[in-house]
């Protein structure tokens, strides 16, 4: 956990005071709707379908147990006793009262938390691998770099009114579990032949209505230049990013309109002025930040072979929800927030308290939020795994579906969100019910299924191996299905990719059957159990899937159902 120093704390406290004043001025009629909108959004406050929504920042997804207890407490006292973990590793409250938000922020500040820049046209929460610091394939501990970027991007005087939101992700491991290619800026930490740290810099990736994979504009940026180079990118974006059309305002559009080469040249020209200037990072600062992170005091343990444990269900959970750790005798455990019947990413205050207890007893008092909307206990002794499994199961957090079809990423959708065209939570549940046979689920193997309720793509449907997008047709909810998307290079050779739509959209009731058809097609074509769904799509293309879903007979029945649905 990064522990604030006096200045970090002071800035957060000053923000609370500032926002309290802004809220009062708005309620007194001194700030217009438009002005207050821009100000409240950069404090994570949306006015939603039924009530305001407050998005609380969890920087790079790292959370201590006092913080989680505070979130549980706030959800209980200011909301309806639950929260929603988002794909940006944040926590959203769906029912706070506008007048109480300054009070909530003041309470958050007591545990070094805030809602700074969780929305609006500003830098958003910097995200990273939920196994940072413990992954066996670690190149560098990305948390240190995330915190450096967090500080640089907090209340940046020049870049506080950007054309549009701006998301940065950092990956510090061999495998990319941070989806860096679909961020405004994606940073891959690397080491050169001398062991010096640097970053491959991708720019212009993103989802939303114009999804794009980021392009590399620098293969190796030595670490001292990180902030000056980011500053150069942001200055080009701040000055030239489009402000005439909200849908064309992300940096990806600027990169596309300029062309990657021209954009790179402009950044380089700007950087020539900033390079080696005062914002150049120094070793003392990296060291200072690193030492402000508390790290577990690992015991000297050996790895344990748990394959002999015969408790029913344990082996499956071990395989799916337990992940290797860089320290012998330890493991990382994912607590699944994807139980069928519960909206993906939702947790109650009681569960939060119980999870905090689990983390205190078994994982050094820390947790991580994954962008797949689960929680991770990163430092569990292997000897405790059976006990953790029993307790997690009792709490409904041991669904053994990590990496499988039912580990669905979903936005809150039309049940909560004012932007949504369609509901997503009931679709997720219907699919989870259709695939409730664990043996079948495990036989299907690794598959990411993501659902967004509109083209803003908060549910990352473009990078799901199967992606579902809610669309509006004459006031009716319809769902377009894409296949072939992939969030990043989680295995060597598997590149980040955007899914392609298989054809016309479906009524909500049809969606589970369509997924079933896609799975049938995959199972019929796979060479072996080792060939995953995404591999088959990449090998044979989408045509066979399309045919299997829309084949003549099915098209007729689909049309009938559609007419029925519209009747």
């Amino acid at each position: 956990m990064y522990v604030y120093d006096e200045i970090d704390q002071r800035l957060v406290d000053e923000r609370v005071r500032q926002f309290r004043g802004q809220t009062e001025r708005f309620l007194a009629g001194q700030l217009s709707e438009e002005e207050f909108r821009a100000l409240r959004l950069r404090n994570g406050l949306y006015i939603q379908r039924y009530a305001p929504m407050l998005r609380i920042a969890i920087p790079y997804g790292l959370l201590s147990t006092p913080q989680l207890r505070k979130l549980a407490d706030i959800a209980r006292r200011y909301d309806r006793g639950y929260g929603h973990f988002s794909t940006r590793q944040n926590l959203q409250l769906n029912w706070p009262k506008l007048e109480q938000v300054p009070e909530i922020l003041a309470e958050l500040a007591t545990v070094q938390m805030h809602a700074i820049q969780t929305s609006g046209n500003s830098f958003r929460n910097v995200t990273t691998d939920h196994f940072a610091g413990v992954a066996r394939d670690e190149i560098v501990d990305s948390y240190v770099w995330c915190e450096i970027i967090r500080q640089w991007s907090t209340f940046h005087p020049e870049f506080s009114f950007l054309p549009r939101k701006f998301k940065i992700a950092v990956n510090g491991a061999q495998a990319d579990r941070a989806a860096v290619a679909v961020h405004d800026i994606g940073l891959h930490a690397l080491r050169d032949e001398k062991g010096e740290i640097g970053f491959r810099v991708l720019v212009g990736g993103g989802l939303g209505r114009t999804p794009m994979i980021g392009v590399c504009i620098r293969e190796f940026l030595p670490w001292p230049h990180l902030l000056t180079y980011l500053e150069a990118i942001l200055r080009v974006y701040n000055r030239y990013g489009r402000r005439d059309n909200i849908h064309k305002a992300r940096i990806k559009i600027l990169v596309k309109e300029r062309g990657a080469d021209k954009f790179r040249d402009e950044v380089e020209a700007e950087w020539a002025h900033l390079k080696d200037g005062p914002a150049t990072l120094i070793g003392e600062e990296i060291e200072r930040i690193a030492t402000r992170f508390t790290r577990p005091a690992y015991e000297r343990l050996g790895d344990i072979d748990l394959s002999a444990v015969t408790l029913p269900g344990f082996a499956t959970w071990l395989k799916r929800n337990v992940h290797p750790h860089k320290v012998a005798g330890y493991a990382a455990v994912t607590l699944s927030l994807k139980k069928t019947g519960v909206p993906p990413g939702d947790v109650t205050s009681e569960q939060m308290d119980a999870i905090a207890d689990l983390a205190d007893r078994y994982s050094c008092g820390e947790l991580r939020v994954s962008h797949e909307q689960n929680l991770v206990l990163a430092d569990v002794r292997q000897a405790d795994l059976v006990a953790v499994w029993r307790e997690a199961r009792a709490l409904g957090l041991a669904t053994p579906n990590l990496g499988l079809l039912t580990n669905i990423i979903s936005c809150p959708g039309g049940d909560f969100c004012a932007l949504a065209n369609a509901k997503s939570i009931p679709v997720a549940e219907a699919i989870q019910r259709r695939f409730d046979d664990l043996d079948y689920l495990h036989d299907i193997g690794e598959l990411d299924l993501n659902i967004s309720g509109c083209m803003n793509a908060c549910g990352h449907h473009h990078v799901g191996n199967i992606g579902i997008l809610g669309v509006d047709k004459n006031g009716e909810e319809w769902y377009q299905i894409e296949i072939g998307g992939n969030q990043g290079e989680i295995r060597p050779g598997l590149k980040a990719a955007l899914g392609k739509a298989i054809g016309p959209s479906f009524a909500r009731a049809e969606v589970p059957a369509v997924i079933e058809r896609l799975i049938e097609c995959y199972l019929a074509h796979r060479d072996s159990d080792a060939e995953r769904f995404i591999d088959v799509v990449n090998r044979i293309g989408i045509a066979p899937f399309k045919e299997h879903v829309y084949g003549n007979a099915d098209q007729r029945s689909s049309r009938n159902q559609r007419e029925h649905a519209l009747a």
Partner: protein, 134 residues
């Protein structure tokens, strides 16, 4: 005329300061490089912020001060409220024409919204991490 804050003081509307020399006005799309030659001769540069959320002028301010060495009055005009003042001042602005209806005396508190900043800027040429070591 809108109210003006200059040197962190409210300038009375009834006593306009005597103007001498040329006033240069820059729109968000203007390039400071194109006017760099003229900067030594102008009495004042005005940077226009056409909308509350239009942040291009912040970059223009820094460029004028840091890259082109402009030392004279740098005035932010347009849709300016107290919520911008801390950031504007950090980016080198020293005069502020507030949008109509904004109470200038209350707005002065905006300069103290934050007591520190992590980043290097015109006001704080060294980022916090270098000042911490000093």
């Amino acid at each position: 005329m809108a109210t003006l804050i200059k040197g962190r003081r409210v300038i009375s509307e009834s006593t306009p300061s005597p103007e001498q020399g040329e006033v240069l006005r820059l729109e968000p799309t203007d390039d400071p490089a194109a006017v760099a030659e003229r900067l030594a001769r102008v009495a004042r540069v005005e940077v226009h912020f056409p909308k509350f959320g239009d942040g291009r002028g912040f970059s223009i301010g820094r460029l004028l001060r840091e890259r082109y060495g402009y030392k004279g009055e740098l005035r932010a005009v347009g849709h300016i409220t107290r919520d911008h003042l801390f950031f504007l001042e950090s980016c080198g602005f020293d005069a502020f024409e507030l949008r109509a209806g904004e109470d200038p005396h209350a707005a002065l508190a905006g300069f103290a919204d934050f007591s520190e900043a992590y980043q290097a800027s015109v006001k704080r040429p060294l980022p916090l991490f270098r000042r911490r070591l000093a």
